[in-house]
Protein backbone atom coordinates (compact mmCIF):
# COMPACT_ATOMS: atom_id res chain seq x y z
CA UNK A 1 0.00 0.00 0.00
CA UNK A 2 2.73 2.42 0.99
CA UNK A 3 4.56 3.92 -1.95
CA UNK A 4 8.17 2.90 -1.61
CA UNK A 5 10.61 5.70 -1.22
CA UNK A 6 13.25 6.08 -3.90
CA UNK A 7 16.04 8.61 -4.27
CA UNK A 8 18.22 8.88 -7.36
CA UNK A 9 21.08 11.23 -8.01
CA UNK A 10 21.89 12.94 -11.31
CA UNK A 11 23.98 15.91 -12.37
CA UNK A 12 22.27 18.87 -13.98
CA UNK A 13 24.35 21.89 -15.05
CA UNK A 14 26.96 21.22 -12.42
CA UNK A 15 24.44 20.67 -9.60
CA UNK A 16 23.80 17.32 -7.93
CA UNK A 17 20.06 16.70 -8.14
CA UNK A 18 18.45 14.18 -5.82
CA UNK A 19 15.10 13.09 -7.26
CA UNK A 20 12.90 11.69 -4.53
CA UNK A 21 9.65 9.81 -4.90
CA UNK A 22 7.21 8.00 -2.68
CA UNK A 23 6.84 8.39 1.06
CA UNK A 24 9.62 10.17 2.87
CA UNK A 25 9.70 8.80 6.38
CA UNK A 26 12.15 7.28 8.82
CA UNK A 27 12.73 4.29 6.53
CA UNK A 28 14.16 6.44 3.76
CA UNK A 29 17.46 7.21 5.48
CA UNK A 30 19.78 4.82 3.72
CA UNK A 31 18.57 5.62 0.22
CA UNK A 32 18.68 9.33 0.87
CA UNK A 33 22.23 9.17 2.20
CA UNK A 34 23.37 7.04 -0.75
CA UNK A 35 21.82 9.44 -3.25
CA UNK A 36 23.42 12.32 -1.40
CA UNK A 37 26.85 10.67 -1.57
CA UNK A 38 26.45 10.17 -5.32
CA UNK A 39 25.23 13.71 -5.92
CA UNK A 40 27.98 15.17 -3.74
CA UNK A 41 30.63 13.15 -5.55
CA UNK A 42 29.79 14.84 -8.84
CA UNK A 43 28.83 18.35 -7.80
CA UNK A 44 29.11 20.96 -5.13
CA UNK A 45 25.56 22.24 -4.98
CA UNK A 46 22.84 19.85 -3.86
CA UNK A 47 19.31 20.15 -5.27
CA UNK A 48 16.53 18.24 -3.54
CA UNK A 49 13.63 17.43 -5.84
CA UNK A 50 10.47 16.83 -3.77
CA UNK A 51 8.11 16.70 -6.75
CA UNK A 52 7.53 12.95 -6.45
CA UNK A 53 7.17 12.91 -2.66
CA UNK A 54 3.59 12.03 -1.81
CA UNK A 55 3.94 12.04 1.96
CA UNK A 56 6.44 13.31 4.45
CA UNK A 57 6.35 13.03 8.22
CA UNK A 58 8.45 14.18 11.13
CA UNK A 59 10.86 11.28 10.83
CA UNK A 60 11.33 12.20 7.16
CA UNK A 61 11.95 15.81 8.17
CA UNK A 62 14.57 14.53 10.60
CA UNK A 63 16.34 12.85 7.67
CA UNK A 64 16.31 16.10 5.71
CA UNK A 65 17.81 17.82 8.77
CA UNK A 66 20.52 15.16 8.92
CA UNK A 67 21.25 15.68 5.26
CA UNK A 68 21.42 19.45 5.77
CA UNK A 69 23.79 18.99 8.70
CA UNK A 70 26.04 16.84 6.54
CA UNK A 71 25.97 19.36 3.66
CA UNK A 72 26.69 22.16 6.08
CA UNK A 73 29.74 20.41 7.46
CA UNK A 74 30.92 19.98 3.88
CA UNK A 75 30.05 23.61 3.13
CA UNK A 76 27.64 22.71 0.36
CA UNK A 77 24.64 24.88 -0.40
CA UNK A 78 21.33 22.99 -0.52
CA UNK A 79 18.35 24.00 -2.64
CA UNK A 80 14.95 22.43 -2.94
CA UNK A 81 12.12 22.47 -5.44
CA UNK A 82 8.92 20.61 -6.20
CA UNK A 83 7.50 21.09 -2.69
CA UNK A 84 3.72 21.21 -2.44
CA UNK A 85 2.23 24.25 -0.74
CA UNK A 86 1.61 22.15 2.35
CA UNK A 87 5.15 20.85 2.72
CA UNK A 88 6.48 24.30 1.94
CA UNK A 89 4.54 25.51 4.96
CA UNK A 90 5.97 22.72 7.02
CA UNK A 91 9.45 23.77 5.95
CA UNK A 92 8.54 27.23 7.21
CA UNK A 93 7.14 26.00 10.50
CA UNK A 94 10.26 23.98 11.14
CA UNK A 95 12.49 26.86 9.93
CA UNK A 96 14.12 24.54 7.42
CA UNK A 97 13.62 27.40 4.94
CA UNK A 98 16.42 29.27 6.70
CA UNK A 99 18.86 26.62 5.57
CA UNK A 100 17.45 25.44 2.25
CA UNK A 101 16.74 27.78 -0.60
CA UNK A 102 13.32 26.92 -1.96
CA UNK A 103 12.55 27.25 -5.65
CA UNK A 104 9.36 26.71 -7.54
CA UNK A 105 10.92 24.48 -10.20
CA UNK A 106 14.12 22.86 -11.32
CA UNK A 107 15.03 25.53 -13.87
CA UNK A 108 15.14 28.28 -11.24
CA UNK A 109 16.89 25.99 -8.78
CA UNK A 110 19.66 25.23 -11.25
CA UNK A 111 20.07 28.85 -12.32
Amino acid sequence: MAERFAANARIHDGAGVIDMSGELDGGAGEQLQEAYAQAAAGAERILLNFAGVSYMNSTGIALVVELLARARSERRPVHAFGLSEHYRQIFEITRLVDFVTIHSDEASAVA
Partner: protein, 536 residues
Protein backbone atom coordinates in the same frame (compact mmCIF):
# COMPACT_ATOMS: atom_id res chain seq x y z
CA UNK B 1 10.30 -28.22 49.21
CA UNK B 2 10.61 -29.14 45.54
CA UNK B 3 14.02 -27.53 45.35
CA UNK B 4 15.09 -29.72 48.17
CA UNK B 5 14.05 -33.06 46.73
CA UNK B 6 15.38 -32.12 43.30
CA UNK B 7 18.76 -31.50 44.81
CA UNK B 8 18.68 -34.78 46.60
CA UNK B 9 17.96 -36.63 43.42
CA UNK B 10 21.34 -35.64 42.07
CA UNK B 11 23.30 -38.38 43.75
CA UNK B 12 27.03 -38.54 43.15
CA UNK B 13 28.92 -41.68 43.96
CA UNK B 14 32.54 -42.24 43.47
CA UNK B 15 33.27 -45.64 41.90
CA UNK B 16 31.04 -48.68 42.02
CA UNK B 17 31.45 -52.38 42.68
CA UNK B 18 33.87 -52.73 39.77
CA UNK B 19 36.22 -50.52 41.71
CA UNK B 20 36.75 -53.34 44.16
CA UNK B 21 38.84 -55.23 41.62
CA UNK B 22 42.50 -55.18 42.58
CA UNK B 23 43.58 -53.03 39.67
CA UNK B 24 46.12 -50.34 40.43
CA UNK B 25 45.66 -48.68 37.03
CA UNK B 26 43.10 -45.98 37.74
CA UNK B 27 42.37 -45.34 34.08
CA UNK B 28 40.87 -48.79 33.78
CA UNK B 29 38.47 -48.20 36.63
CA UNK B 30 34.92 -47.45 35.61
CA UNK B 31 33.60 -44.43 37.45
CA UNK B 32 29.98 -44.67 36.40
CA UNK B 33 27.50 -42.68 38.48
CA UNK B 34 25.38 -44.71 40.80
CA UNK B 35 21.66 -44.95 40.12
CA UNK B 36 19.88 -41.89 41.46
CA UNK B 37 18.27 -42.46 44.82
CA UNK B 38 15.27 -40.37 45.59
CA UNK B 39 14.80 -39.33 49.19
CA UNK B 40 11.26 -38.48 50.17
CA UNK B 41 10.73 -35.13 51.89
CA UNK B 42 9.52 -36.82 55.07
CA UNK B 43 12.32 -39.44 55.28
CA UNK B 44 14.08 -39.27 58.69
CA UNK B 45 17.43 -39.28 56.86
CA UNK B 46 16.79 -35.71 55.81
CA UNK B 47 16.40 -34.44 59.37
CA UNK B 48 19.45 -36.45 60.35
CA UNK B 49 21.64 -35.05 57.58
CA UNK B 50 20.42 -31.53 58.26
CA UNK B 51 22.01 -31.69 61.71
CA UNK B 52 24.92 -34.06 60.97
CA UNK B 53 28.30 -32.57 61.69
CA UNK B 54 30.11 -34.16 58.75
CA UNK B 55 30.28 -37.29 56.55
CA UNK B 56 27.93 -40.03 57.71
CA UNK B 57 28.82 -43.72 57.65
CA UNK B 58 25.81 -45.43 56.19
CA UNK B 59 26.72 -48.87 57.60
CA UNK B 60 26.73 -47.51 61.16
CA UNK B 61 23.55 -45.50 60.78
CA UNK B 62 20.64 -46.87 62.75
CA UNK B 63 17.65 -45.15 61.22
CA UNK B 64 14.37 -46.65 60.12
CA UNK B 65 14.64 -45.03 56.74
CA UNK B 66 13.67 -46.24 53.28
CA UNK B 67 16.30 -43.94 51.82
CA UNK B 68 19.09 -45.47 53.90
CA UNK B 69 18.09 -48.96 52.73
CA UNK B 70 18.02 -47.83 49.10
CA UNK B 71 21.37 -46.09 49.39
CA UNK B 72 22.92 -49.22 50.87
CA UNK B 73 21.54 -51.30 48.02
CA UNK B 74 23.07 -48.79 45.61
CA UNK B 75 26.43 -49.44 47.23
CA UNK B 76 26.80 -46.15 49.06
CA UNK B 77 29.08 -46.20 52.10
CA UNK B 78 29.48 -42.58 53.00
CA UNK B 79 26.99 -39.72 52.72
CA UNK B 80 28.35 -36.17 52.90
CA UNK B 81 25.60 -33.59 53.45
CA UNK B 82 25.77 -30.43 51.35
CA UNK B 83 24.57 -27.56 53.50
CA UNK B 84 24.18 -24.01 52.23
CA UNK B 85 22.91 -21.25 54.51
CA UNK B 86 21.82 -23.87 57.01
CA UNK B 87 19.72 -25.66 54.43
CA UNK B 88 20.35 -29.19 53.19
CA UNK B 89 20.46 -28.82 49.44
CA UNK B 90 21.96 -32.16 48.40
CA UNK B 91 24.31 -34.95 49.35
CA UNK B 92 27.60 -36.30 48.10
CA UNK B 93 27.28 -40.11 48.11
CA UNK B 94 30.39 -42.27 48.01
CA UNK B 95 30.85 -45.97 47.46
CA UNK B 96 33.66 -47.98 49.11
CA UNK B 97 37.22 -46.79 48.69
CA UNK B 98 39.09 -48.27 45.71
CA UNK B 99 41.69 -49.65 48.10
CA UNK B 100 38.91 -51.41 50.04
CA UNK B 101 40.15 -49.70 53.19
CA UNK B 102 37.88 -47.68 55.44
CA UNK B 103 37.66 -43.93 54.89
CA UNK B 104 40.35 -42.34 57.06
CA UNK B 105 39.83 -39.27 59.20
CA UNK B 106 41.93 -37.34 56.64
CA UNK B 107 39.59 -38.52 53.91
CA UNK B 108 36.64 -37.34 55.94
CA UNK B 109 38.17 -33.93 56.63
CA UNK B 110 38.91 -33.54 52.92
CA UNK B 111 35.36 -34.53 51.98
CA UNK B 112 33.89 -32.22 54.57
CA UNK B 113 35.90 -29.29 53.27
CA UNK B 114 34.99 -30.22 49.70
CA UNK B 115 31.30 -30.33 50.66
CA UNK B 116 31.65 -26.94 52.34
CA UNK B 117 32.83 -25.45 49.06
CA UNK B 118 30.60 -27.42 46.72
CA UNK B 119 27.37 -26.60 48.58
CA UNK B 120 27.25 -22.84 47.86
CA UNK B 121 28.25 -23.45 44.24
CA UNK B 122 25.50 -26.04 43.87
CA UNK B 123 23.03 -23.62 45.46
CA UNK B 124 23.98 -20.93 42.97
CA UNK B 125 23.49 -23.38 40.10
CA UNK B 126 20.10 -24.35 41.51
CA UNK B 127 19.05 -20.72 41.77
CA UNK B 128 20.14 -20.04 38.20
CA UNK B 129 18.09 -22.97 37.02
CA UNK B 130 15.07 -21.85 38.96
CA UNK B 131 15.38 -18.37 37.53
CA UNK B 132 15.71 -19.73 34.03
CA UNK B 133 12.61 -21.83 34.52
CA UNK B 134 10.77 -18.79 35.89
CA UNK B 135 11.85 -16.67 32.95
CA UNK B 136 10.64 -19.33 30.51
CA UNK B 137 7.33 -19.50 32.31
CA UNK B 138 6.99 -15.73 32.24
CA UNK B 139 7.73 -15.65 28.54
CA UNK B 140 5.19 -18.38 27.90
CA UNK B 141 2.56 -16.48 29.82
CA UNK B 142 3.29 -13.27 27.98
CA UNK B 143 2.97 -15.04 24.66
CA UNK B 144 -0.31 -16.51 25.73
CA UNK B 145 -1.46 -13.09 26.82
CA UNK B 146 -0.57 -11.61 23.45
CA UNK B 147 -2.50 -14.35 21.63
CA UNK B 148 -5.53 -13.85 23.85
CA UNK B 149 -5.46 -10.10 23.27
CA UNK B 150 -5.11 -10.61 19.56
CA UNK B 151 -8.14 -12.88 19.39
CA UNK B 152 -10.20 -10.60 21.56
CA UNK B 153 -9.31 -7.42 19.70
CA UNK B 154 -10.10 -9.07 16.43
CA UNK B 155 -13.63 -9.90 17.49
CA UNK B 156 -14.60 -6.50 18.77
CA UNK B 157 -16.39 -4.19 16.35
CA UNK B 158 -14.22 -1.73 14.51
CA UNK B 159 -17.03 0.68 13.87
CA UNK B 160 -20.22 1.23 15.78
CA UNK B 161 -23.29 2.14 13.75
CA UNK B 162 -24.80 5.50 14.66
CA UNK B 163 -28.48 5.57 13.69
CA UNK B 164 -29.92 9.03 13.08
CA UNK B 165 -30.66 10.83 16.32
CA UNK B 166 -28.76 8.30 18.42
CA UNK B 167 -25.35 8.18 19.95
CA UNK B 168 -23.99 4.70 20.60
CA UNK B 169 -20.76 4.61 22.51
CA UNK B 170 -18.70 1.67 23.73
CA UNK B 171 -15.79 1.41 26.10
CA UNK B 172 -13.69 -1.69 26.43
CA UNK B 173 -10.50 -2.12 28.37
CA UNK B 174 -8.95 -5.55 28.93
CA UNK B 175 -7.42 -6.48 32.24
CA UNK B 176 -3.79 -7.54 32.13
CA UNK B 177 -4.71 -11.20 32.24
CA UNK B 178 -7.38 -10.65 29.56
CA UNK B 179 -10.80 -11.90 30.56
CA UNK B 180 -13.41 -12.83 28.03
CA UNK B 181 -15.52 -9.68 27.67
CA UNK B 182 -17.05 -8.81 24.34
CA UNK B 183 -19.59 -6.47 22.86
CA UNK B 184 -21.12 -6.00 19.46
CA UNK B 185 -23.42 -3.52 17.77
CA UNK B 186 -24.87 -4.20 14.33
CA UNK B 187 -27.31 -2.41 12.11
CA UNK B 188 -29.83 -4.91 10.71
CA UNK B 189 -31.33 -4.67 7.23
CA UNK B 190 -34.69 -3.55 8.67
CA UNK B 191 -33.02 -0.55 10.29
CA UNK B 192 -33.07 -1.95 13.82
CA UNK B 193 -29.91 -2.19 15.89
CA UNK B 194 -28.79 -5.48 17.44
CA UNK B 195 -26.52 -5.05 20.44
CA UNK B 196 -24.88 -7.34 22.93
CA UNK B 197 -22.46 -7.34 25.86
CA UNK B 198 -21.10 -10.60 27.20
CA UNK B 199 -18.55 -12.10 29.47
CA UNK B 200 -16.89 -15.52 29.26
CA UNK B 201 -15.88 -17.04 32.59
CA UNK B 202 -12.17 -17.80 32.77
CA UNK B 203 -9.30 -15.87 31.30
CA UNK B 204 -6.57 -16.11 28.71
CA UNK B 205 -6.60 -17.97 25.41
CA UNK B 206 -9.40 -20.43 26.26
CA UNK B 207 -11.72 -17.57 27.24
CA UNK B 208 -10.74 -15.56 24.18
CA UNK B 209 -11.54 -18.48 21.87
CA UNK B 210 -14.94 -19.04 23.47
CA UNK B 211 -15.57 -15.31 23.24
CA UNK B 212 -14.75 -15.36 19.53
CA UNK B 213 -17.01 -18.36 18.92
CA UNK B 214 -19.87 -16.84 20.92
CA UNK B 215 -19.69 -13.53 19.14
CA UNK B 216 -19.77 -15.24 15.75
CA UNK B 217 -22.64 -17.52 16.75
CA UNK B 218 -24.58 -14.52 18.07
CA UNK B 219 -24.09 -12.69 14.79
CA UNK B 220 -25.20 -15.68 12.73
CA UNK B 221 -28.20 -16.45 14.93
CA UNK B 222 -29.10 -12.77 15.09
CA UNK B 223 -29.15 -12.51 11.33
CA UNK B 224 -31.34 -15.58 10.95
CA UNK B 225 -33.69 -15.33 13.91
CA UNK B 226 -33.82 -11.73 15.05
CA UNK B 227 -35.79 -12.28 18.25
CA UNK B 228 -33.44 -11.91 21.24
CA UNK B 229 -34.90 -14.86 23.15
CA UNK B 230 -34.62 -17.17 20.15
CA UNK B 231 -31.09 -15.96 19.43
CA UNK B 232 -29.88 -16.77 22.94
CA UNK B 233 -31.63 -20.14 22.94
CA UNK B 234 -29.97 -21.08 19.65
CA UNK B 235 -26.51 -19.96 20.73
CA UNK B 236 -26.91 -21.72 24.06
CA UNK B 237 -27.66 -25.00 22.31
CA UNK B 238 -24.76 -24.57 19.91
CA UNK B 239 -22.31 -23.72 22.66
CA UNK B 240 -23.44 -26.42 25.04
CA UNK B 241 -21.22 -29.47 24.72
CA UNK B 242 -18.80 -27.51 22.60
CA UNK B 243 -17.19 -25.37 25.25
CA UNK B 244 -15.05 -26.72 28.08
CA UNK B 245 -16.96 -27.77 31.18
CA UNK B 246 -17.00 -25.19 33.97
CA UNK B 247 -16.81 -22.49 31.31
CA UNK B 248 -19.88 -20.50 30.39
CA UNK B 249 -20.90 -17.21 28.92
CA UNK B 250 -23.13 -14.53 30.35
CA UNK B 251 -24.66 -12.32 27.75
CA UNK B 252 -27.30 -9.69 27.24
CA UNK B 253 -28.72 -9.48 23.74
CA UNK B 254 -31.14 -6.86 22.55
CA UNK B 255 -32.70 -5.26 19.52
CA UNK B 256 -33.51 -1.56 19.39
CA UNK B 257 -35.69 0.26 16.91
CA UNK B 258 -34.06 3.69 16.76
CA UNK B 259 -37.16 5.19 15.10
CA UNK B 260 -39.49 4.42 18.00
CA UNK B 261 -37.12 3.75 20.88
CA UNK B 262 -38.73 0.36 21.39
CA UNK B 263 -36.43 -2.19 22.85
CA UNK B 264 -36.56 -5.97 23.23
CA UNK B 265 -33.92 -7.93 24.99
CA UNK B 266 -33.16 -11.25 26.61
CA UNK B 267 -30.61 -12.08 29.22
CA UNK B 268 -28.37 -15.08 29.76
CA UNK B 269 -27.20 -14.47 33.30
CA UNK B 270 -25.58 -11.15 32.57
CA UNK B 271 -25.63 -7.94 34.61
CA UNK B 272 -28.91 -6.10 34.17
CA UNK B 273 -28.81 -2.98 32.04
CA UNK B 274 -29.65 0.47 33.34
CA UNK B 275 -31.98 2.99 31.83
CA UNK B 276 -31.38 6.57 32.81
CA UNK B 277 -34.35 8.88 32.48
CA UNK B 278 -35.49 12.08 34.16
CA UNK B 279 -36.56 9.94 37.11
CA UNK B 280 -33.05 8.61 37.70
CA UNK B 281 -31.58 5.22 36.95
CA UNK B 282 -33.50 1.97 36.87
CA UNK B 283 -32.46 -1.58 36.12
CA UNK B 284 -34.39 -3.43 33.43
CA UNK B 285 -35.04 -6.94 34.57
CA UNK B 286 -34.68 -10.09 32.55
CA UNK B 287 -33.34 -13.41 33.74
CA UNK B 288 -32.04 -16.56 32.14
CA UNK B 289 -29.30 -19.15 32.47
CA UNK B 290 -25.82 -18.35 31.20
CA UNK B 291 -25.00 -19.76 27.77
CA UNK B 292 -23.34 -23.15 27.45
CA UNK B 293 -24.32 -24.63 30.80
CA UNK B 294 -27.43 -26.62 29.90
CA UNK B 295 -29.09 -27.38 26.59
CA UNK B 296 -32.70 -26.59 25.80
CA UNK B 297 -33.03 -23.40 27.82
CA UNK B 298 -35.67 -20.80 27.00
CA UNK B 299 -35.01 -17.10 27.37
CA UNK B 300 -37.82 -14.67 28.12
CA UNK B 301 -37.88 -11.42 26.27
CA UNK B 302 -38.34 -8.13 28.04
CA UNK B 303 -39.77 -5.14 26.23
CA UNK B 304 -39.14 -1.56 27.12
CA UNK B 305 -39.33 1.81 25.49
CA UNK B 306 -36.67 4.48 25.55
CA UNK B 307 -37.61 8.11 25.19
CA UNK B 308 -35.70 11.07 23.84
CA UNK B 309 -32.87 11.96 26.16
CA UNK B 310 -32.76 8.56 27.82
CA UNK B 311 -29.77 6.28 27.91
CA UNK B 312 -29.51 2.50 28.01
CA UNK B 313 -26.30 1.33 29.64
CA UNK B 314 -24.93 -2.22 29.47
CA UNK B 315 -21.96 -3.18 31.60
CA UNK B 316 -19.73 -6.10 32.48
CA UNK B 317 -18.51 -7.40 35.85
CA UNK B 318 -15.26 -5.46 35.68
CA UNK B 319 -16.96 -2.34 37.05
CA UNK B 320 -19.33 -3.57 39.77
CA UNK B 321 -16.74 -6.08 41.01
CA UNK B 322 -13.80 -3.68 41.11
CA UNK B 323 -12.25 -3.28 44.55
CA UNK B 324 -10.97 -0.27 46.40
CA UNK B 325 -7.61 -0.59 48.22
CA UNK B 326 -9.56 -1.45 51.41
CA UNK B 327 -11.23 -4.35 49.49
CA UNK B 328 -14.61 -2.63 49.39
CA UNK B 329 -16.42 -3.55 46.19
CA UNK B 330 -17.72 -0.93 43.76
CA UNK B 331 -21.08 -2.70 43.60
CA UNK B 332 -24.26 -2.28 41.62
CA UNK B 333 -25.85 0.32 43.97
CA UNK B 334 -22.90 2.66 43.51
CA UNK B 335 -23.01 2.13 39.77
CA UNK B 336 -26.72 2.93 39.83
CA UNK B 337 -26.03 6.17 41.70
CA UNK B 338 -23.41 7.26 39.19
CA UNK B 339 -25.70 6.46 36.29
CA UNK B 340 -28.49 8.49 37.91
CA UNK B 341 -26.33 11.59 38.46
CA UNK B 342 -27.27 14.60 36.39
CA UNK B 343 -24.85 15.20 33.61
CA UNK B 344 -22.02 17.53 34.43
CA UNK B 345 -19.31 18.82 32.17
CA UNK B 346 -18.19 16.96 29.10
CA UNK B 347 -18.64 13.33 28.32
CA UNK B 348 -21.56 10.99 28.68
CA UNK B 349 -22.52 8.33 31.16
CA UNK B 350 -19.52 6.13 30.27
CA UNK B 351 -17.08 8.90 31.12
CA UNK B 352 -18.85 9.48 34.43
CA UNK B 353 -18.80 5.80 35.37
CA UNK B 354 -15.11 5.55 34.53
CA UNK B 355 -14.30 8.71 36.46
CA UNK B 356 -16.13 7.41 39.52
CA UNK B 357 -14.40 4.04 39.18
CA UNK B 358 -11.04 5.78 39.06
CA UNK B 359 -11.88 7.82 42.13
CA UNK B 360 -13.05 4.67 43.94
CA UNK B 361 -10.12 2.39 43.13
CA UNK B 362 -7.51 5.07 43.64
CA UNK B 363 -4.26 5.58 41.79
CA UNK B 364 -2.12 2.65 40.72
CA UNK B 365 -5.05 0.26 40.64
CA UNK B 366 -4.34 -2.93 38.75
CA UNK B 367 -7.54 -3.62 36.85
CA UNK B 368 -8.94 -6.95 38.03
CA UNK B 369 -11.18 -7.91 35.14
CA UNK B 370 -12.08 -6.69 31.67
CA UNK B 371 -14.27 -3.61 31.66
CA UNK B 372 -16.95 -3.18 29.02
CA UNK B 373 -19.58 -0.46 28.82
CA UNK B 374 -22.06 0.11 26.05
CA UNK B 375 -24.30 3.17 26.10
CA UNK B 376 -27.16 3.80 23.67
CA UNK B 377 -28.48 7.32 23.97
CA UNK B 378 -31.41 8.76 22.09
CA UNK B 379 -31.09 12.30 21.00
CA UNK B 380 -28.29 14.66 20.14
CA UNK B 381 -30.41 17.05 22.17
CA UNK B 382 -29.91 14.80 25.16
CA UNK B 383 -27.04 17.06 26.05
CA UNK B 384 -29.43 19.99 26.28
CA UNK B 385 -31.86 17.96 28.30
CA UNK B 386 -28.94 17.39 30.63
CA UNK B 387 -28.41 21.07 30.95
CA UNK B 388 -25.49 21.43 28.61
CA UNK B 389 -25.75 24.13 26.02
CA UNK B 390 -23.44 22.71 23.38
CA UNK B 391 -24.77 20.03 21.09
CA UNK B 392 -23.30 16.58 21.49
CA UNK B 393 -20.62 15.80 18.97
CA UNK B 394 -21.82 14.11 15.84
CA UNK B 395 -19.57 11.14 15.21
CA UNK B 396 -18.40 11.04 11.61
CA UNK B 397 -16.08 8.06 11.83
CA UNK B 398 -14.86 5.67 14.45
CA UNK B 399 -12.30 2.96 13.90
CA UNK B 400 -9.13 1.40 15.20
CA UNK B 401 -5.86 0.19 13.71
CA UNK B 402 -3.25 -2.21 15.10
CA UNK B 403 -0.12 -0.53 16.42
CA UNK B 404 2.16 -1.27 13.50
CA UNK B 405 4.56 1.20 11.97
CA UNK B 406 3.03 2.67 8.83
CA UNK B 407 -0.59 2.42 10.00
CA UNK B 408 -0.52 6.16 10.69
CA UNK B 409 -1.11 6.53 6.92
CA UNK B 410 -4.25 4.44 7.19
CA UNK B 411 -5.44 6.66 10.03
CA UNK B 412 -4.62 9.77 8.00
CA UNK B 413 -6.48 8.46 4.97
CA UNK B 414 -9.61 7.53 6.87
CA UNK B 415 -9.71 10.74 8.89
CA UNK B 416 -9.38 12.70 5.64
CA UNK B 417 -12.29 10.73 4.18
CA UNK B 418 -14.46 11.81 7.09
CA UNK B 419 -13.11 15.36 7.40
CA UNK B 420 -13.52 16.23 3.72
CA UNK B 421 -17.34 15.94 3.66
CA UNK B 422 -17.49 17.82 6.98
CA UNK B 423 -16.17 20.87 5.16
CA UNK B 424 -12.45 20.81 5.70
CA UNK B 425 -10.56 21.24 2.46
CA UNK B 426 -7.42 22.44 0.78
CA UNK B 427 -4.44 23.47 2.81
CA UNK B 428 -6.31 23.15 6.12
CA UNK B 429 -7.20 19.57 5.32
CA UNK B 430 -3.54 18.91 4.50
CA UNK B 431 -2.53 20.40 7.84
CA UNK B 432 -4.96 18.19 9.69
CA UNK B 433 -3.73 15.14 7.74
CA UNK B 434 -0.13 15.72 8.70
CA UNK B 435 -1.08 16.41 12.33
CA UNK B 436 -3.20 13.24 12.40
CA UNK B 437 -0.38 11.14 10.93
CA UNK B 438 2.06 12.50 13.51
CA UNK B 439 -0.37 11.93 16.38
CA UNK B 440 -1.14 8.39 15.20
CA UNK B 441 2.59 7.71 14.83
CA UNK B 442 3.17 8.83 18.42
CA UNK B 443 0.32 6.62 19.60
CA UNK B 444 1.68 3.60 17.73
CA UNK B 445 5.31 4.11 18.70
CA UNK B 446 5.33 5.77 22.09
CA UNK B 447 1.90 4.93 23.46
CA UNK B 448 1.55 1.33 22.35
CA UNK B 449 5.21 0.55 21.71
CA UNK B 450 4.54 -0.90 18.26
CA UNK B 451 2.64 -3.78 19.82
CA UNK B 452 0.18 -4.83 17.10
CA UNK B 453 -2.26 -6.36 19.56
CA UNK B 454 -2.88 -2.93 21.06
CA UNK B 455 -5.24 -0.85 18.97
CA UNK B 456 -5.00 2.84 18.27
CA UNK B 457 -8.54 4.15 18.37
CA UNK B 458 -9.68 7.03 16.30
CA UNK B 459 -12.86 9.06 16.39
CA UNK B 460 -13.75 11.90 14.10
CA UNK B 461 -16.63 14.09 15.18
CA UNK B 462 -18.19 17.43 14.45
CA UNK B 463 -19.28 19.61 17.32
CA UNK B 464 -20.82 22.95 16.47
CA UNK B 465 -18.19 24.62 14.26
CA UNK B 466 -15.33 22.37 15.24
CA UNK B 467 -14.01 19.22 13.72
CA UNK B 468 -12.63 16.97 16.46
CA UNK B 469 -10.21 14.11 15.88
CA UNK B 470 -9.49 11.93 18.89
CA UNK B 471 -6.65 9.47 18.74
CA UNK B 472 -6.12 7.25 21.74
CA UNK B 473 -3.57 4.68 22.79
CA UNK B 474 -2.98 2.65 25.92
CA UNK B 475 0.03 4.72 26.88
CA UNK B 476 -1.01 4.95 30.47
CA UNK B 477 -1.37 8.05 32.52
CA UNK B 478 2.02 9.39 31.54
CA UNK B 479 1.43 12.76 30.00
CA UNK B 480 2.96 13.35 26.61
CA UNK B 481 6.07 15.37 27.28
CA UNK B 482 5.61 18.74 25.64
CA UNK B 483 8.99 19.33 24.12
CA UNK B 484 10.48 22.73 23.83
CA UNK B 485 10.46 24.20 20.35
CA UNK B 486 12.96 22.26 18.31
CA UNK B 487 15.99 24.36 17.49
CA UNK B 488 16.96 23.73 13.91
CA UNK B 489 20.34 25.37 14.31
CA UNK B 490 21.18 23.16 17.27
CA UNK B 491 20.02 20.18 15.26
CA UNK B 492 22.20 21.17 12.33
CA UNK B 493 25.17 21.58 14.65
CA UNK B 494 24.38 18.09 15.95
CA UNK B 495 23.68 19.45 19.45
CA UNK B 496 20.04 18.37 19.38
CA UNK B 497 18.88 15.10 17.88
CA UNK B 498 17.55 15.37 14.34
CA UNK B 499 14.21 13.94 15.45
CA UNK B 500 11.70 15.46 17.86
CA UNK B 501 9.57 17.40 15.42
CA UNK B 502 6.33 15.46 15.82
CA UNK B 503 4.59 17.20 18.69
CA UNK B 504 5.85 20.62 17.65
CA UNK B 505 4.41 20.06 14.19
CA UNK B 506 1.06 18.88 15.53
CA UNK B 507 0.71 21.94 17.74
CA UNK B 508 1.70 24.21 14.89
CA UNK B 509 -0.70 22.68 12.39
CA UNK B 510 -4.00 22.41 14.25
CA UNK B 511 -6.14 25.10 15.84
CA UNK B 512 -6.10 23.39 19.23
CA UNK B 513 -4.72 20.28 20.77
CA UNK B 514 -5.36 18.73 24.14
CA UNK B 515 -4.29 15.55 25.86
CA UNK B 516 -6.52 13.60 28.23
CA UNK B 517 -5.43 10.59 30.17
CA UNK B 518 -8.02 8.36 31.67
CA UNK B 519 -7.11 5.12 33.38
CA UNK B 520 -4.45 3.88 31.08
CA UNK B 521 -5.98 5.34 27.96
CA UNK B 522 -4.40 8.46 26.59
CA UNK B 523 -6.35 10.52 24.12
CA UNK B 524 -5.02 13.34 22.02
CA UNK B 525 -7.75 15.58 20.69
CA UNK B 526 -7.04 17.70 17.64
CA UNK B 527 -9.41 20.53 16.81
CA UNK B 528 -9.85 22.33 13.51
CA UNK B 529 -12.38 25.16 13.26
CA UNK B 530 -14.74 24.72 10.37
CA UNK B 531 -15.85 28.36 10.10
CA UNK B 532 -12.75 29.33 8.17
CA UNK B 533 -13.88 27.07 5.37
CA UNK B 534 -17.37 28.52 5.35
CA UNK B 535 -16.00 32.04 5.25
CA UNK B 536 -13.73 31.26 2.36
Amino acid sequence: MTVFSQALRRVVRRGDRAAARPLPDESAVTLAPAPAVEIADHDPLIAFLQSASGPVDLDELKLDSAAVRELRVAGVKLVVPLISSGELIGTLNLGPRLSEQEYSSDDRRLLESLAGQAAPALRVAQLVREQEAEARERQRMEQELAVAQLIQQHFLPVEIPQPAGWSIEAFYRPARAVGGDFYDVLERPDGTIAFTVGDVTDKGVPAAMVMAATRSLLRAAGEELGDPGAVLARVNDLLHGDIPSRMFVTCLYGVLDPRTGSLRFANAGHNLPFVRSDDGAAELTATGMPLGLMAGMAYDETEARLHQGEVLLLHSDGIAEAHAPDREMFGIPRLSEVVAQPREGRGGVIARVLAELERFTGPGWEQEDDITLLALRWGGDAAQADGEAAAAPEVLAEFQVPSEAGNEREVMRRVAEAAGPAGLAGERLEKLKTAVAETAMNAIEHGNHNDPVLPVRVRVARQAHDLLVEISDLGGDRPIPIRETPDIEAKLRGEQEARGWGLFLIQSLVDAMQVDTDQGRRTVQLVMHLEDENDG
